[in-house]
């Protein structure tokens, strides 16, 4: 497969619910209760339980590997967590990723990624360098 600057990728959507957050908490060791306990989240001024920012970033990484192949290495990967992903009880929240190649340097491709939840950009300045 050969790539060109400007190539865009088919959008990739993940559904996220409370049990996904519990599974991510157990796998990552990040048991901060703001990601699991609604009363606690509200007691520290949050609207509701929010997803781990790193869970959203991990899914962005997975979208990228979905586009290029799971065996490909991301040699650099960065993002800013712009808005929280609110996950109400009993709901499946949709996280949608799109990507576009912004540069090609030798055997490495640089991709810009967008991440939206209910039309709101939850990540900004999301970039990855993929070794082909």
């Amino acid at each position: 497969m050969s790539w060109s600057v400007g190539d865009e990728f088919t959008e990739k959507t993940f559904t996220v619910n409370r049990s996904d957050l519990k599974q991510y908490a157990d796998a990552s060791g990040d048991q901060n209760p703001i990601h699991q306990d609604e009363a606690f989240a509200q007691s520290v001024g949050l609207p509701n339980v929010i997803a781990h920012g790193m869970y959203t970033m991990a899914l962005a990484g997975e979208a990228i590997r979905n586009w290029f192949g799971s065996e490909k290495s991301l040699t650099e990967f960065s993002t800013r967590f712009a808005k929280p992903v609110v996950v109400p009880a009993g709901e499946d929240v949709l996280l949608t990723f799109t990507g576009k190649i912004s540069a090609i340097e030798g055997d490495q491709v640089i991709i810009d990624v967008t991440a939206t939840c209910n039309g709101v950009k939850v990540l900004t300045q999301t970039k990855a360098r993929v070794r082909l």
Binding site: E62, R65, E76
Partner: protein
Amino acid sequence: MAVHGPDLVGRRFSSQHTRLVTAEAISTFASAIEADPRFTPPTFLISFSVAAAEEFLPTIGFDWARVVHGDQRFVHHRDVRAGDELSYSSEIESYKNLAGNEFVSIRTDFISALDAENISSTWSTLVFRGEQS
């Protein structure tokens, strides 16, 4: 809440022990993000670096209950593999207090305990939200 200042910049903290990366830890992490468990996810090391920060920062007065993640960057010199034994050390690279919210940026370097190869570095900005926000 303790008051912090720019003198935090340059503070270092380290893992007390090396940590072995197991195939199980990689596949458990991969499963949680719907990934192919045969390949290490690019964000896998976050569990090590955040755990180190979670141990250290509360000892100097940061309230872990008020933390949110501001930004994150990974640079991987090679993929982390099952069987890797990692030592890691962190340094506070910047500190800002903006309208009562504290922004702490931490770099963590991951080194192979076997051959001292620098495998990865991560940069995390953690935001400790002030009481008003």
